[in-house]
């Protein structure tokens, strides 16, 4: 219980820090918007093509955005060495990860939900009837991206060339998320939409596996 209450307090801190400046969210949203627009310039797709390729482009934009957005979550703590303070304040280092993962998931979801109508308008696809399925896919995908991304942000923050390193480590590890989320979203955007439960199960499995690995090994990532 102490773990959850500690994580809740730290989550509040993460969200407050972000919403005071809103730097991260605003930059990421603009970035995703630019990526989606640039994609539409390079393809100029018809509605049918958009249904097939659009979700892939959308998820790729989300992954690129995540690799930028996740970067500061540990770098921010380095400026005044606040990570040591956090480490002393909580009994279990996993609480720090849990808080950062929750905050990153929230920020990613906000970005994704704001981008969804823009994407639907620009690429001329309709998804309104399948909103619950899309929300579920976005949620599970974002949790997976945040779990792996937060862990790797902790690794890359301790290395040189960290801005370049995080996307390098993150993107290949997130291949399953990209593949499964894209296919599930494609199915949801077809004229006869359906939820691919097997894909949803795989996303949930990915989230659980990596959350467990992080729970087991997370404290070593924050060692002084």
């Amino acid at each position: 219980m102490a773990l959850l209450s500690n994580a809740a307090v730290l989550f509040g801190k993460e969200v407050r820090t972000e919403f005071r400046s809103r730097e991260l969210l605003s930059t990421t949203i603009v970035f995703v918007l630019i990526v989606v627009v640039v994609f539409s310039f390079t393809f100029d797709p018809t509605t049918n093509e958009s249904r097939r390729f659009g979700p892939g482009l959308l998820w790729m934009a989300f992954l690129f955005a995540a690799s930028l957005m996740l970067q500061p979550c540990f770098l921010r703590e380095q400026t005044n060495d606040t990570l040591s303070a956090l480490r002393l304040a909580v009994q279990d280092a996993f609480a720090i990860f849990l808080a950062k993962i929750s905050a990153n998931t929230l920020f990613l979801l906000v970005t994704e939900l704001l981008m969804l109508p823009v994407f639907a308008a620009l690429f001329n696809v309709s998804f309104a009837a399948q909103l619950p399925g899309i929300l579920l896919t976005f949620f599970l995908g974002s949790v997976g991206i945040s779990v792996v991304g937060t862990a790797l942000a902790a690794i890359s923050a301790q290395a040189r060339m960290r801005e370049l390193l995080l996307p390098l480590l993150l993107l290949p590890l997130l291949t399953p998320i990209l593949v499964v989320s894209t296919e599930v979203t494609v199915r949801l955007m077809q004229p006869d939409p359906a939820i691919e439960w097997k894909g949803i199960g795989l996303l949930a499995g990915f989230d659980v596996v990596f959350l467990t690995v992080l729970w087991l090994f997370g404290e070593y990532l924050l060692e002084e």
């Binding site: 301790q158 390193l165 480590l169 590890l173 296919e183």
Partner: protein, 225 residues
Amino acid sequence: MLRRIFFGAVAVGLVACAAYAAFYIAPEERTMGTIYRIFYFHAPTAWAGETTFFVCFVANLLYIWKRKPQYDWLGVTCAEVGLACITVVLITGPIWAKPVWGIWWTWDARLTSTFVLWILYICYLLLRTLVDEPERRALLSALFGVFAFIDVPIVFGAIRWWRTQHPAPVIMGGAGSGLDPVMKKVFFFSVLAMHVFAAFLIVERYLLEKTKYDVELMAREAEAR
């Protein structure tokens, strides 16, 4: 030194024998003809690479647990040797695929997961070059190694769900699969040869890493004086 030379000679000799057996002893395959003989290098190297990466994973876990530099040396050694094996697999695969499938590459489950495995271990080695302090480098790369190894079966599962073009398992597959007895002998001899050769490379590379560590330690001591 003599033992190392002997081990090296045995490893190279076994690979040479495996090559001879693959070209002259194994019978011709009915549909694919001679091109199928690359299978005696392709699959055994893949098995040797996967075994090596598994040893790397175990070494990573042991390093996180015990913090002995020896496990770090073993980790980086296995990552490099495994990467070399998988590089051979990724080169011999398309050479076989072009005449048989008519294409160099397809994004099926086994090919994609092998490719992702290859990229992940390149990233593992890249990460090591970007962390200066030896203990930190060992710990961070060990943790990334654990993440990378666990990811690969999920990649495989994720892509297998849609489609797969790679030949269904011939060895240890279900009913209707199986090899001609001579082919089987040659194949398992190649598997043995590739494993021994990989073990030889691991031993040599491990000793090199140990020397590197000793030199670094001496340099630091000299600097301190």
